[in-house]
């Protein structure tokens, strides 16, 4: 049964949707040179109005108060009494930030955002530019309903009392969600004169009474001067839980009544304007094409499908062991099951996929705030925000992206005066784009700022002892210095991005998601960060290799190539160091068995070398005893029941039911790093 807590949770979930719609609409309105569509303004107004309505139901007074003032300004705009100007839009954008904050505070507790008071004043000032709010209430909010009546009787827009016939037929859900019809009727009474008749015809005799199918209905006659909107608002939260019809009765009882128009509470972007054919049509409410499902359930499903895939592999191995022919019935059916299981897995994983939009939208705000804090003018352009990625990836992307945006505003974009001097437009543009590319999601964040000042980066790195003064560094090497821990290029720590955490944190966070981050920079033209992420955290493409007595999995994304050492040349360096010549460079060999505490490989010539590359471009050859297979594996947490293991990112279950560990090549490379980024190069040259 839905308790108050779940209702509250639903409200906050809806708020997220509404706030995202609000942000969408506002950015559309703020688009320069764009004459905003009146529908957009309406949409924005409705979003704020719905937040206010919901908040009122839960007694969240500060949200209600703020939304009310916000709504007043929007109302002036949608009626055309307040022009949509750039300064006004900036106030509205900031107001939407505050509204989002207020909702967060209402959900998680905390103090009201400090900007609230000043924004309330700004909104009030805006509202004063339009006519007094009382006036609008009376005529604008009124929405005439089309009625089919003989000529001459036009739908009048007068504050005269109007009578509506309202029917309320609750469905089981209404009671299950804790609504009380009496409260709805009381709310109507506040709008005007109400006559209520309880319709008990549908109630079945006691013996046949089914409590899950309520039979009680009400027929009401409401005489009010208030607008139809306000009547509809009373039923806003009834949702699909009741059939509600509101019919306007004409003053002359002889005239035919208008057909009932169904109320559509959600989504608020649709509203009943068409009159539907009388009678039964009112009962057919349009169903939304989406459902809300608890994430736990989806995850359980994903786990179970994972089990199915593993079990299928176990079965396949059993069939092989039993020596059955490939074309036997059993083997054929099994192949069918394998295909089916694979496609089910894909479908289920796609349930967890969500568009990147919410996180991208949050970056709008970050950009705005960062621009305000640094006195720079910045605009964020977004491309491909409908690209879908696993929900967990999205959630964990917010922090690194925030950091990178702040970084781009603080260090990348120049001050307006400087930009003008360089012949660039004063408003800097940061472009955030996302796209699917060969099974991964590529997110690019580029700015049109000054690019990386390499000589300064190098000077700072040398001053901090991060790189030797005589090291030979390529431009790319220097750019990569930015990712080193402890590198913060702003000499005086700025309040914005210089908080002692640098891009190394960004890189680590992206790596923990199984992704990579790289950067390119052109002096004077800007910097582009490229993040490549896996589509999901649930499966991984890996190579099955033998390490000592165990089978392990190496993520395919890190592998560059595999080499037979017999054909390559191996050089000794010092007592135990070994290097292999590969494509003109000498690459260090790391014996995985030794690394994981097994007996080291005795004869390197008989091993397989797997060339891997880290984010920073460092290469190493991992030595293994053999390569078995390449396949998609289901990722299982090791941390849940044990803890983290150095050099291991997770585990998976093999066809024989045994566990194989998934190697984290990045960590192995990092832990064996004894050299600067240029060591391999200098060793070669």
């Amino acid at each position: 049964m839905a308790g108050p807590d779940t209702l509250r949770a639903t409200f906050f979930e809806e708020c997220e949707d509404l706030l995202s719609r609000l942000g969408d609409g506002l950015s559309l309105m703020a688009e320069p040179g764009e004459t905003s569509d009146i529908e957009t303004v309406h949409g924005v107004f409705r979003a704020v109005h719905s937040v206010k309505g919901g908040a009122a139901a839960f007694g969240l007074t500060s949200v209600v108060e703020f939304a009310h003032v916000f709504e007043t300004v929007l109302d002036l705009m949608r009626s055309g009494r307040l022009p949509v100007s750039l300064p006004a839009m900036q106030t509205l954008l900031r107001a939407s930030d505050v509204l989002a904050d207020l909702v967060t505070v209402a959900r998680d507790g905390g103090a009201d955002p400090p900007q609230m008071a000043s924004l309330l004043m700004e909104l009030d000032l805006l509202a004063e530019q339009g006519p007094a709010p009382d006036l609008i209430e009376a005529d604008f909010d009124f929405q005439p309903v089309p009625i089919h009546i003989p000529d001459g009787v036009a739908p009048s827009i007068t504050p005269d009392p109007v009578t509506y016939a309202i029917t309320l037929s609750p469905l089981a859900g209404l009671y299950a969600h804790g609504h009380e019809p009496a409260a709805l009727i009381r709310a109507l009474r506040r709008l005007g004169e109400v006559e209520v008749i309880a319709d008990i015809d549908a109630i079945r005799p006691l013996a046949a009474l089914d409590l899950s199918r309520p039979g009680l209905r009400w027929q009401m006659r409401l005489t009010t001067t208030k607008a139809r909107d306000e009547i509809e608002a009373v039923f806003d939260f009834v949702g699909d839980d009741a059939e509600v019809t509101i019919t306007r009765l004409l003053p002359e009882p002889t005239l035919p009544t208008e057909a009932p128009a169904p109320i559509m509470p959600a989504p608020p972007s649709q509203r009943p304007t068409d009159s539907s054919p009388a009678g039964s049509a009112a009962a057919v409410l349009p169903l939304s094409a989406t459902i809300r499902v608890n994430l736990d359930r989806v995850d359980r499903l994903i786990n179970q499908i994972g089990e199915l895939v593993i079990l299928e592999a176990v079965l396949a191995q059993a069939v092989t062991t039993a020596g059955l022919r490939d074309d036997s019935d059993l083997a054929t059916s099994l192949a069918g099951i394998r295909q089916l299981a694979g496609s089910i897995q894909e479908t289920v994983l796609s349930i967890r996929a969500q568009p990147l939009k919410p996180v991208f939208q949050r970056m709008q705000r970050i950009t705005r705030e960062a621009g305000d804090a640094t006195g720079k003018q910045v605009r964020l352009a977004m491309i491909g925000d409908t690209t879908e990625v696993d929900k967990t990836v999205i959630e964990r992307l917010a922090d690194p992206l925030t950091h990178m945006i702040r970084n781009a505003v603080d260090h990348g974009i120049e001050a307006p005066a400087q930009r003008m001097a360089l012949g660039k437009p004063p408003v800097g543009v940061i472009t955030l784009s996302a796209a699917h590319r060969s099974g991964r999601v590529i997110i690019e964040l580029s700015d049109d700022g000054g690019g990386i000042d390499r000589s300064r980066v190098r000077a700072i790195a040398e001053a901090r002892g991060l790189v030797a003064t005589d090291a030979v560094l390529t431009p790319a090497d220097i750019d990569n210095l930015l990712f080193l821990p402890g590198f913060s290029s702003k000499e005086e720590a700025s309040s914005l991005s210089g908080r002692g955490v640098g891009l190394d944190v960004v890189r680590r966070e992206i790596q923990s998601l199984g992704g990579r981050v790289t950067l390119q920079s052109v002096p004077g033209q800007g910097t582009t960060f490229t993040i490549a992420l896996p589509l999901t955290l649930a499966v991984l493409d890996g190579m099955l290799i033998s390490v000592g007595p165990e089978t392990m999995v190496l993520p395919l994304s890190a592998i560059v190539e595999t080499i037979r050492p017999a054909s390559a040349q191996i050089h000794l360096l010092g007592q135990s160091g070994r290097l292999v010549a590969n494509r003109g460079a000498l690459v260090p060999i790391i014996d995985l068995a030794d690394c994981f505490g097994f007996a080291p490989i005795a004869d390197l010539d008989r091993s397989v070398l797997i060339m891997v590359e880290s984010d920073s471009g460092r290469r190493a050859a991992l030595a293994a005893t053999g390569i078995h297979d390449q396949r998609q594996v289901v990722i299982k947490s090791l941390e849940q029941n044990y803890g983290s293991v150095h050099g291991i990112s997770a585990a998976t279950i093999l066809g024989d039911g045994r566990i194989a560990l998934i190697i984290d090549p990045e960590e192995i490379l990092r832990s064996t790093a004894v050299d600067s980024p240029s060591a391999a190069r200098t060793a070669h040259g």
């Binding site: 165990e550 299982k636 090791l638 029941n641």
Partner: protein, 156 residues
């Protein structure tokens, strides 16, 4: 032992008795999820000696702790006759490797005695009580919070 199983009153606790080497130990029955035969484990790199590896428990990765090694009685060379007792302790699920599960007993609270102050012994750190049985044997009650691997990277 039989007498102890006759009645089960409120001031009794059910425990699962295990044999490790030639000593008798026990754990609270509430934490025991299942008892299964030994199956080969996947070795965890850098793990302490008493963690034999991980097994697949219906899709979950579960670490197996060799109780004998943990208690300082020497490493077990597991055979199919050994058992793994799956315990849920807080959010963690862990397998305990023992020689055999000997009994399920009701133990009086009054019968639980504090661990005597003997000379320092690796085992002592891992037991909370000792319980003398009527047949002359003695049960040692294991302190799971000390035995289980910590979730932070142990052994790294």
């Amino acid at each position: 032992m039989r007498q102890m199983m006759l009645q089960h009153t409120a001031d009794q606790n059910d425990v699962v008795a295990l044999r490790i080497g030639d000593q008798d130990y026990c754990i609270d029955i509430e934490v025991v999820r299942e008892i299964r035969g030994w199956s080969p484990t996947t070795v965890l790199p850098h793990a302490p000696a008493h963690v034999t590896g991980v097994i697949n428990l219906r899709g979950a990765v579960v670490a197996v702790v060799d109780l004998a090694a943990r208690l300082g009685l020497g490493k077990t060379a597991p055979t199919p006759r050994h058992v793994i007792v799956i315990v849920a302790f807080g959010p963690q699920t862990v397998g305990l490797l023992a020689d055999v599960v000997s009994d399920i007993l009701g133990v009086d609270h009054a019968a639980m005695q504090p661990v005597p102050d003997l000379a320092s012994d690796a085992t002592r750190a891992f037991i909370t009580n000792v319980i003398p049985l009527e047949d002359g044997r003695m049960l040692r009650k294991l302190d799971l919070s000390k035995i289980l691997p910590h979730r932070t990277a142990e052994g790294v």
